[in-house]
C-alpha cells in the first residue's frame, strides 16, 4: 500500500466517522422533534433556528456535570463500559458502502471505509460485541437494577441475533456473497431485495429494533421497572456516551437495512441519469456527480429508517419480557427458518423457470 492510497483511505474513514457522528448527534435533536410533533407539540425550538443548536447544548451540559463514580463500583470497568459501547458502535460504520466510486485523476476511490469480502460478518461480529459495553457497565455499577438491565440486554441481544442471522441467510443465498459492496451492486436500479424478501425484511427490522434496545424492546432501560436499567448509576458524559452509542447504532442499523433490502445507493432510472451526466460533463465529473446523487439517495433511505425508529418509538408500548422472549424464540426463529426454506426452493426451482420464461 503506497502513501497516497494510505492517505486516501484515512481521509475516507475520517469522513465516514464524521458523517456517522454528526448524524447521530442530530438524531438526538430529531428524536425530540419527532416526539414533539407526534404528540402535537413543537419540540425544542429555542437553541438556534428550530432548536438546531440543542445537541451542542446537551453535550456541553453533559461535559460540565460532575463525573461521579460510585464508591463500591469497579472503577475501571465502570469507565470501560461506555467506552466499549461507543467503540463498538463506531466500528460498524467502517464497512458500509455509502456510494459507488469517485474518480480523482484516474484513480477510483470507493465511498466505503473498508471494502471487505466478509463485510456483513464483520458487522455482525461488531454488533454482537456491542452488548459487552452494556454488560460490563451494568455489572461494574454494583447496583441490582443495573445488573438486571444488563442481563436483560445480554439475553435479549443473544436471542434476537439468532433470528437476525437466520433472516440474513436468505439474502446471502440470493447474493452468494458476504461483501456489502457486492450485495448492493447486485440490487442495481429497482432490483431491490425487499421485493424478494418481504418476510425476511420484517424479521430483520424487528430484530434490529431489539438489537438497538429501542422501543418496543427497550427492556434493558425500562424506567418503570428498573429505574434507568444498565445506566442507572451513570451520569455526566459517560451516560452521554451510552445514549450517543444508541443513536449511532440506530443509524448504522438503518444504513444496513437500506443496504441489504432497499438497494443502498441504487435508485430507479440511475443508468439514464448516469448516461446523461457522463455525456454532458465527461467521464470524471459526470461519474462523480452521479455517485454523489447515489450517496444522497442512500442517506435519504437510511435517514428514513432512523425516522421510522422514532416513529415506532412514539407509537408502540413496550413488550413484557416473556412476550419478548416468546416473540424471539417461538415466532421469529421458526419464521426465519421457513423463509430460508422458501428462498432455497425459489432459488432452486422458481428462478430457472422465470429466467426461461423471460428469455
Amino acid at each position: 500500500m503506497d502513501l497516497t492510497e494510505f492517505l486516501v483511505k484515512t481521509a475516507t474513514i475520517f469522513a465516514v466517522f464524521v458523517a456517522t457522528l454528526v448524524i447521530a448527534m442530530y438524531s438526538t435533536w430529531a428524536e425530540r422533534k419527532v416526539a414533539g410533533f407526534i404528540q402535537d407539540r413543537s419540540g425544542p425550538n429555542r437553541a438556534g433556528w428550530g432548536g438546531l443548536l440543542q445537541p451542542l447544548a446537551d453535550a456541553g451540559k453533559m461535559f460540565f456535570k460532575e463525573d461521579f463514580i460510585p464508591a463500591l463500583a469497579n472503577k475501571w470497568l465502570f469507565i470501560a463500559g461506555p467506552s466499549l459501547a461507543m467503540l463498538t458502535a463506531m466500528l460498524a460504520s467502517a464497512v458500509i458502502p455509502f456510494g459507488s466510486t469517485i474518480r480523482v485523476a484516474g484513480h477510483e476511490v470507493p465511498l466505503q471505509g473498508v471494502e471487505s469480502n466478509i463485510g456483513i460478518l464483520y458487522v455482525f461480529g461488531v454488533v454482537a460485541l456491542g452488548v459487552y459495553g452494556i454488560m460490563v457497565g451494568g455489572w461494574a455499577s454494583n447496583n441490582k437494577f443495573s445488573l438486571l438491565g444488563a442481563i436483560r440486554a445480554a439475553s435479549q441481544n443473544i436471542s434476537y441475533e439468532v433470528a437476525m442471522g437466520l433472516s440474513l441467510i436468505a439474502i446471502l443465498m440470493m447474493s452468494s456473497s458476504l461483501s456489502l459492496g457486492e450485495i448492493v451492486s447486485q440490487q442495481h436500479g429497482m432490483n431491490w431485495n425487499i421485493f424478494y424478501q418481504p418476510l425476511g425484511f420484517i424479521i430483520f427490522i424487528t430484530c434490529s429494533f431489539a438489537e438497538c434496545n429501542r422501543v418496543p424492546f427497550d427492556l434493558p432501560e425500562c424506567e418503570t421497572e428498573l429505574v434507568g436499567g444498565y445506566h442507572t448509576e451513570y451520569g455526566s458524559m459517560k451516560l452521554g456516551f451510552y445514549l450517543f452509542a444508541e443513536y449511532i447504532n440506530m443509524f448504522i442499523s438503518s444504513a444496513i437495512i437500506s443496504v441489504l433490502y432497499f438497494g443502498g445507493y441504487n435508485y430507479p432510472g440511475m443508468d439514464f441519469v448516469y448516461n446523461q451526466l457522463v455525456n454532458a460533463l465527461g467521464t470524471e465529473t459526470g461519474h462523480n456527480i452521479a455517485t454523489l446523487i447515489g450517496t444522497a439517495v442512500f442517506f435519504g433511505k437510511a435517514l428514513f429508517f432512523v425516522f421510522f425508529y422514532m416513529w415506532v418509538r412514539w407509537t408502540i408500548p413496550r413488550f413484557r419480557y416473556d412476550q419478548l422472549m416468546n416473540l424471539g424464540w417461538k415466532k421469529l426463529i421458526p419464521l426465519a427458518i421457513l423463509n430460508i426454506l422458501i428462498t432455497g426452493a425459489a432459488v432452486l426451482f422458481l428462478k430457472p423457470v422465470i429466467t426461461a420464461w423471460l428469455n
Binding site: V34, F37, I38, D40, R41, S42, T315
Partner: protein
C-alpha cells in the same frame, strides 16, 4: 344488574390470525401517529404569545388611582388583616395641605409593601378593600425575581401609572364571552370600566 349502557362484555375468545400477527395493529397505530405528526401544534410560544387567562385571573398587585389620578388607598389595614399569608404591611400617614391632588382620603399609605414570596394570590385583599384600591391584575404575572431585594415590592412598583392605566374589560363569564367574540371579529375591544361606588 345493568347500570349504564357503556359497559362492554369481556370476552376470552381466541384472537384471529390477523390480530395475532400484530402487524396490522402496528400499521394502524403508525397511521394514527403520523396523522398527529402533520397536525396543527397546540403549543403556545409563551414569552412571545400570551394566552388570555380570563377576567378573574389573579396576577400582579396594583394600587389603583381614581379618575383624577389620586391614590385611593386610605391605609385602613383591612387588606393586611384579611391576608392569610401576612404578606402585606403598611405605614399610614396624614394628608398635608396641598396634597389633595395626590391622595383621595385624608389618611394615606406612606409605605405599602407586599412580600411576593409570602403572597399566595388568593385575592382576599381585593375583596377586603373598602376603597377599591388594591387589585390583582388579570393580565400580568408577577415576574420572576432572582435577588433577595426584589422580593418585597413597595409603592414604586405597586401604584398605578396614569399613562398606562389598568382596566378590566370583562367582569363576568358572559361579558368575557362577548369580549372574546368581539376580539375574534376584530371589533373594538375596550369596554367602559365599571363605575366605582
Amino acid at each position: 344488574m345493568q347500570l349504564t349502557n357503556r359497559s362492554k362484555q369481556v370476552s376470552n375468545k381466541q384472537m384471529t390470525l390477523a390480530e395475532r400477527a400484530y402487524l396490522p395493529a402496528i400499521a394502524t397505530g403508525l397511521a394514527i401517529t403520523i396523522k398527529h405528526f402533520f397536525a396543527k401544534k397546540v403549543t403556545i410560544q409563551y414569552p412571545e404569545v400570551k394566552r388570555y387567562l380570563g377576567p378573574v385571573f389573579r396576577g400582579r398587585h396594583i394600587l389603583k388611582r381614581d379618575a383624577e389620578g389620586r391614590e385611593r388607598c386610605t391605609a385602613c389595614g383591612l387588606c393586611a388583616v384579611a391576608c392569610p399569608a401576612e404578606a402585606i404591611s403598611m405605614v399610614a400617614s396624614e394628608r398635608q395641605k396641598g396634597e389633595e391632588n395626590l391622595y383621595r382620603e385624608e389618611k394615606y399609605a406612606a409605605v405599602y409593601e407586599v412580600n411576593m414570596l409570602r403572597c399566595i394570590f388568593c385575592g382576599l385583599c381585593e375583596e377586603a378593600c373598602p376603597k377599591q384600591a388594591v387589585y390583582l391584575r388579570h393580565d400580568e404575572f408577577v415576574p420572576v425575581f432572582t435577588e433577595r431585594d426584589q422580593v418585597i415590592w413597595g409603592k414604586d412598583l405597586l401604584v398605578e401609572d396614569m399613562n398606562n392605566r389598568y382596566t378590566r374589560e370583562a367582569w363576568t363569564k358572559e361579558e368575557a364571552h362577548v369580549l372574546d367574540a368581539k376580539r375574534a371579529n376584530g371589533e373594538a375591544t375596550n369596554v367602559v370600566p365599571r363605575a366605582i361606588p
